[in-house]
């Protein structure tokens, strides 16, 4: 389990690097640490190991999820170069917290025991509470942190009660023990296991912001500093879905008939709530928050029609979604930083509105193109990775014969096209500011990488097949 050890050690090392006078060394150091961990992660490829007295199990799937999260974190950190110029920012602590939160995320994708699931969720969440509130003087950031914290702790309590009830019913915390119980119930399943599973699901669905547990998401994503919103909406979501998939496929595959109806209803609700509300947003950042809710809905399709293709669909979708989301937030960071003097109002938040993107593509073709590609990918237009992600998701629903869910999902992706194209129209067809935005080299490489990855996976989606 080297990634966990390395990330912890590197996180502490970053804190010590923070003592140095120069802040310039932190960003390259954090990137180097993430790359090393990413490489080390693949040492156990094609092997299955149990670690720490059967607490964690690594297999190819968990390694692929770890790689997606480390890659997302790498891109997010590379986009964070503006911390150096910010007097009140504490980049050493931010990077250390990002690395520590990744420890929790890795535990969530490779847990074998519910204790590790709980500890992983908490390590990830507590670090995210701090990062959400890291803009200490900003009331919006404060409010987001408090909302996230109170709601997150509340959801943790519900999740724990579910785990306690499952333990009462089965006498075991291991997912293999739960599976042994649900596959061969001696005297019929007790009520405890149903209630327990339901509460555990509520807790985890809260973390991935599925409706009706999504009310915190827009506020938190809106209030948090944009760079951490990008981290939250990619890494936390990937980790949450990996954990849900592991739990449902290994432990509760036997009682599929019990939970699929509930999960399918939640899926449909999430799709409708996320997409319809996103249409009415005037702030791009808030639109992205609702869009992340709707993407949680698409990912849930794969879980509520759990089958042979679900694994591949979730991996592909979370990769496509993470890359596109980070690129979109990267462009938003630049736009809101450098156009703040031009569109500031009494509320001072209009820099994140759709209007801020007016005429962007004429002044900065690269930014415009990166944004266009990621919006097309999020909307699921062919020749982008997002199209194949949706395609795989929808085929899992067809495999299980859940046609009504498919109809809802297709209708809602049509709604999605409307609000994703608003940005593209603003960038290409509206007149706006005349000054081009300065783009740091790091930014350009990340955006180029995101474009190449999105289009490459859109043209050759088979690249990932058969890997895990």
């Amino acid at each position: 389990m080297l990634p966990i050890v390395l990330l912890s050690v590197f996180g502490i090392a970053l804190l010590f690097l923070g003592f140095l006078k120069s802040k310039a060394v932190l960003l390259p150091a954090a990137l180097l640490f993430l790359i090393i961990t990413l490489g080390v992660n693949f040492l156990d490829w094609n092997k299955t190991y149990l670690y720490f007295n059967d607490m964690l199990r690594t297999n190819n799937l968990s390694m692929v999820f770890t790689a997606i999260m480390l890659g997302s974190a790498f891109m997010v950190v590379a986009l964070s170069s503006s911390f150096i110029n910010d007097e009140s920012a504490q980049p050493a602590e931010y990077y250390a917290l990002i690395l520590f939160s990744l420890v929790g995320a890795v535990m969530m994708v490779s847990f074998e025991n519910l204790i590790m699931l709980f500890v992983g969720v908490e390590i990830l969440s507590v670090a995210m509470y701090v990062l959400t509130g890291s803009d200490k003087k900003n009331l919006r950031s404060n409010e987001a942190a408090l909302k996230y914290f109170l709601m997150g702790a509340f959801a943790t309590g519900i999740m724990l009660f579910g785990m306690a009830l499952l333990y009462g019913a089965t006498g075991s915390f291991t997912i293999a023990g739960l599976a042994a119980y649900t596959d061969h119930p001696q005297t019929g399943l007790s009520l405890l296991i149903y209630v327990g599973l339901l509460m555990l699901l509520i807790g985890l669905l809260f973390k991935v912001s599925a409706a009706p547990f999504h009310f915190w998401t827009p506020d938190v994503y809106d209030g948090a500093p944009t760079i951490f919103t990008a981290f939250m909406s990619t890494v936390v979501k990937t980790a949450g879905f990996a954990a849900l998939f592991r739990l449902l496929s290994v432990s509760f595959g036997g009682v599929y008939t019990f939970w699929w109806t509930i999960l399918a209803i939640i899926t449909a609700l999430t799709l409708v709530a996320g997409n319809i509300t996103a249409v009415y947003q005037t702030s791009f950042k808030r639109m992205m928050a609702y869009s992340s809710i709707s993407h949680a809905g698409y990912l849930l399709i794969g879980l509520s029609s759990l089958g042979t293709q679900t694994k591949q669909a979730i991996v592909f979708y979370s990769l496509a979604y993470s890359v596109a989301t980070i690129a979109a937030f990267g462009v938003l960071i630049l736009v809101s930083q450098q156009r703040s003097t031009q569109t500031i109002t009494s509320e001072g938040i209009l820099t994140e509105n759709f209007d801020a993107f007016n005429g962007l593509a004429r002044q900065n073709p690269l930014l415009g193109f990166a944004m266009t590609v990621s919006m097309l990918s999020l909307a699921g237009i062919p020749l982008t990775a997002g199209f194949w992600g949706k395609f795989y998701m929808f085929s899992t629903a067809v495999e299980r014969g859940q046609i009504w869910l498919l109809v809802v999902a297709v209708l809602m992706s049509a709604v999605g096209i409307y609000y994703y194209f608003r940005v593209i129209i603003a960038m290409y067809f509206r007149d706006g500011a005349t000054e081009p935005i300065r783009v740091a080299p790091f930014f350009q490489y990340v955006l180029l990488g995101a474009i190449i990855l999105t289009i490459g996976l859109g043209i050759a989606p088979g690249l990932l097949q058969g890997l895990f």
């Binding site: 204790i115 404060n142 909302k147 702790a153 509340f154 009660f161 306690a164 009830l165």
Partner: protein, 114 residues
């Protein structure tokens, strides 16, 4: 939910049926939920969340004793440790808000609306 027979369970524990523990901790848990949903003071909401976590601890210990299985009690230690970490972060957030607004009423936090 019968206690395992092969390990002897102390008689003192058996005098109170397991269902009672279940009802007690569910009641505590529900009180916690109601507190979170109705109170406006951040500290009281926080206390209600702690009540929920301790209801879980009680339930885990009851199950653990009746099954003569120690893993439930180990879990309780994890919950306590993590809850302590969470409290420190939560109080720090509340202090940060108090410095900016001179209040910890969550009703005042309405900057973020759809």
């Amino acid at each position: 939910m019968q206690p395992t027979q092969d390990v002897l369970i102390p008689e003192v524990i058996q005098q109170i049926p397991l269902t009672y523990y279940l009802i007690l901790s569910t009641a505590l848990f529900v009180i916690g939920i109601i507190g979170v949903l109705t109170r406006r003071n951040a500290i009281i909401i926080f206390m209600s969340i702690e009540l929920m976590l301790n209801a879980v601890n009680l339930l885990l210990i009851a199950f653990s004793s009746y099954r003569s299985d120690s893993s439930g009690q180990v879990f309780v230690f994890f919950i306590m440790a993590v809850a302590a970490a969470e409290v420190s972060v939560g109080l720090a957030i509340i202090v940060m808000i108090y410095r900016n607004t001179r209040s910890i009423d969550v009703g005042l936090l309405n900057k973020l609306k759809w």
